[in-house]
């Protein structure tokens, strides 16, 4: 089995799972309870909070959530609602994850004006366009660090500088795909809020965080018992918080090593696909270390996915979330690609435990499986 769908989710690290089980079994008290068991659980949550902040290099506030989608919702709606009196203009990009884009579309219906920054053919925004989009009324800018479908990397530090120098807007970064693969320093990049999801870096599903690096109020999107500083009601997931902190530590400590390894694998695949007549590499050079989007314009992406699956190779069409919907990917459209390329696109996403040998094996499987599929397909029959 060769799992190449690590941008959809990763395999939990056994050490993370071990912590999770131990905490669940032994420290199951409610962190809000007054008694000793509650106190112990609360202590664990606070240790996890401190530890998580440490791996973001900062003194900001960590809010534990259920993952990337919730963190994005909380940050974007939370800031928009608390800053409405200051202005009603928001900025994002048109290649964001749906958990960002859909929130902005919703806010548009509520009367906010939203600028969607376009990207160039590499999938990267222009800093000049960002600068000219900033207005006196701009209260929030949300830009993803690494795109989940094509792996393009946005110039977060430059963006942060421009936002902080030219406006009073809050800066939110969806770092779900970048954490553990690229270094990120919220202080240095002027980031006020940052979203993470543990299952993208060998943690567990249902655990994530929003890192708040500002004193600016965020309006809570979940009302109830006022846990998590009143920003996220609901019994705090002690084991989830601990496991998240552990996954962050493991990912951070090995970041440089992993990054080198991922880049080697990615470039091996890129070189391979560049020699294949039937394939076209979609991802630009030198973007995220772990993601490579490719297209076989003569086939549908899902055909490639299923053909490889039969051989025990698992990958996705453009993104796992949208691959069950027949709609064309908004990200690939934003790159200005032809319909054929968009339809034939698929995504390979690596993890540190995929070896170069595995990828050599992949090349063989590809050569064996894909070319025969093309034989019956004539251009005029598509």
């Amino acid at each position: 089995m060769l799992y190449l769908d690590n941008s959809a989710t990763t395999k939990p690290d056994p050490a993370v799972l071990e912590s999770y089980i131990k905490v669940t079994e032994q420290y199951y008290g409610n962190p809000s309870s007054l008694h000793g068991m509650g106190e112990t659980a609360a202590q664990l949550v606070e240790m996890a909070r401190k530890s998580a902040a440490l791996y973001l290099n900062g003194s900001g506030k960590v809010i534990f959530t259920s993952g990337g989608t919730e963190s994005n919702n909380l940050a974007i709606k939370g800031f928009a609602q608390s800053l409405r009196s200051r202005g009603n203009h928001l900025i994002t990009t048109n290649i964001e994850h749906p958990s960002v884009l859909e929130v902005f579309r919703h806010l548009e219906k509520e009367g906010f004006a939203v600028t969607y920054l376009p990207v160039d053919e590499r999938g990267v925004i222009s800093i000049d366009q960002l600068r000219s989009a900033l207005k006196k009324e701009t209260i929030l800018v949300s830009i993803m660090h690494v795109n989940n479908e094509i792996g393009s990397v946005q110039p977060i530090e430059e963006a942060g500088r421009v936002i902080k120098n030219h406006s009073r807007a809050m800066f939110h970064v969806d770092a779900v795909q970048s954490f553990g693969k690229l270094p990120i320093d919220p202080d240095k990049a002027g980031i006020d809020a940052l979203s993470l999801s543990a299952h993208k870096f060998h943690g567990l599903k249902g655990t994530g965080l929003l890192y708040l690096n500002t004193d600016q109020q965020v309006v809570s999107q979940m009302l109830g018992g006022s846990q998590e500083f009143g920003l996220r009601s609901g019994t705090v997931h002690t084991a989830g918080a601990v496991a998240l902190a552990k996954a962050m530590r493991l990912a951070s400590e090995q970041l440089e090593e992993h990054r080198k390894h991922l880049i080697e694998g990615r470039d091996l695949l890129r070189n391979f696909f560049e020699t294949r007549e039937e394939a076209e590499v979609v991802s630009a050079n030198d973007q995220a270390p772990h993601i490579l989007a490719v297209s076989v314009p003569l086939l549908k992406g899902e055909v490639v996915v299923h053909a490889l699956e039969k051989m025990g190779v698992y990958l996705s069409t453009s993104s796992a979330c949208s691959s069950r919907i027949t709609k064309k990917s908004h990200v690939l459209k934003a790159l200005g690609l032809s319909d054929d390329v968009i339809k034939g696109a698929f995504r390979i996403s690596l993890s540190p435990d995929v070896s170069l040998n595995d990828l050599e094996e992949f090349k063989k499987i590809w050569e064996e499986v894909i070319p025969p599929l093309l034989e019956g397909v004539k251009r005029n029959e598509r």
């Binding site: 106190e39 112990t40 240790m47």
Partner: protein, 403 residues
């Protein structure tokens, strides 16, 4: 920056007369304690300053951070050793100035010559070294009166010593020179600050806490342990005595009229503290009382409470405002822990209208119906003592593997 030596200035000790040597050797001892896990250092203690020589220059930063909270140190400077070769001195001077470059642009050299045979005199040294540094470090301006960076160059028989930075010490007197006292530690804002103030004057402390389960929670006890651990950062370690107080509090509640319960409770606490003080060899009792802050802290209350003991009661905060106390608590790192909202035994059983002007005869009369001596004896016997150090986080250590 790596330094071979650190120069320590004593400050207030140097005004002492005959006892001076005792103060210096206590300070030496305290420094030795705080550095005990590092490579051994050699002491060279003079009348006004002390040199410590590091066995491993790469430990400079750790040593600096350990010296900062040590009482009895006015200020200190990392010192770099150069050979008597002028080129070596110049090179080390440039490195040193670059290391403290962030402090500002105004620069001055101050050379001193203990070795009068050195070929260059002070003025020539100033000129040679100063001009070399100016040529090699960008953006410096010479300023004689108020320089940001003062490079001190001391030429001695055996070597040349350079320093460019003066780090503020904690001041005060070396802990231990002022004997020992017992601190009544509640868990609030005031008592840790009071303890700190006395430690600063050289007093070694032991802490006493009154614990009334189930009316006060484990959390409250944990909090007091943590506060003690924070304070132990100034002295190495502190012993905390935890007194079981439930029975006495309940007895007072049954026996004494409500508006006098507070006065009586304080009297019992003081009596117990005094017993523990005797057992541990302390010379005084420290409290965090501040005049007029609460009902028990009026002069009338103090008179009625204090009547149970003739032991000196030290109240370093008696004339301090709450805001001043909060500032110090923040500075010494006890604030965040002190404000955790767990009830202590002073806040439970609080009468609606405690007497602010209790009468001694009355409280003595109310107490006379019960044999408190026996209860006090029992409480003292059941007191649990723990030694806490700055690393105290027993639970956290157990949890570390989970992260």
């Amino acid at each position: 920056m790596n330094a071979e030596r650190i120069l320590i200035r004593y400050g207030e000790i140097s005004t002492k007369g005959k006892n001076r040597n005792r103060f210096i050797s206590q300070l030496e001892n305290n420094i030795k304690n705080t550095l005990s896990d590092l490579k051994p250092v050699r002491f060279d203690s003079g009348r006004d300053r002390m040199h410590i020589e590091l066995a491993d220059a790469s430990e400079t930063e750790v040593v600096i951070s350990r010296l900062k909270p040590v009482f009895g140190i006015q200020s200190f400077s990392p010192v770099v050793k150069a050979s008597k070769d002028l080129d070596d001195v110049k090179q080390k001077a440039v490195d040193l100035v670059k290391a403290v470059r962030g402090k500002g642009d105004l620069f001055k050299v101050k050379a001193r010559r203990a070795d009068k045979k050195y070929p260059l005199d002070t003025n020539e040294l100033n000129l040679e070294i100063g001009s070399h540094v100016l040529r090699n470090v960008d953006g410096l301006t010479v300023e004689m009166k108020k320089p940001d960076i003062e490079l001190v160059v001391e030429v001695r028989e055996e070597a040349v010593y350079l320093s460019a930075e003066t780090i503020q010490g904690a001041g005060g007197m070396p802990i231990g020179t002022g004997n020992k006292a017992s601190l009544m530690l509640s868990g609030g804002l005031d008592s840790p600050v009071a303890g700190y103030q006395m430690m600063k004057r050289g007093v070694e402390i032991e802490a006493i806490h009154f614990f009334s389960p189930p009316f006060t929670s484990e959390k409250a006890k944990e909090k007091v342990k943590e506060l003690t651990a924070i304070l132990s950062g100034f002295s190495g370690s502190i012993k905390l005595h935890i007194v079981p107080f439930t029975k006495i509090q309940q007895t007072i509640h049954q026996q004494v009229p409500e508006n006098y319960t507070m006065t009586s409770t304080r009297r019992m606490m003081l009596r117990i503290a005094d017993e523990i003080r005797k057992k541990t060899g302390s010379r005084a009792i420290i409290t965090g009382e501040s005049l007029g802050q609460v009902a028990s802290q009026t002069l009338e209350s103090m008179e009625a409470i204090n009547a149970v003991s003739s032991t000196p009661i030290l109240r370093p905060l008696i004339a301090a405002d709450k805001t001043e106390i909060i500032d110090i608590a923040k500075e010494i790192g006890t604030y965040e822990t002190s404000i955790l909202p767990y009830e202590d035994c002073c806040t439970i059983f609080t009468p609606a209208a405690p007497k602010t002007k209790p009468k001694l005869e009355k409280v003595e009369f109310y107490e006379s119906f019960v044999d408190f001596d026996a209860l006090i004896q029992e409480a003292v016997e059941q007191t649990e003592s723990v030694k806490l150090t700055v690393g105290y986080r027993a639970q956290e250590q157990k949890f570390e593997e989970l992260f």
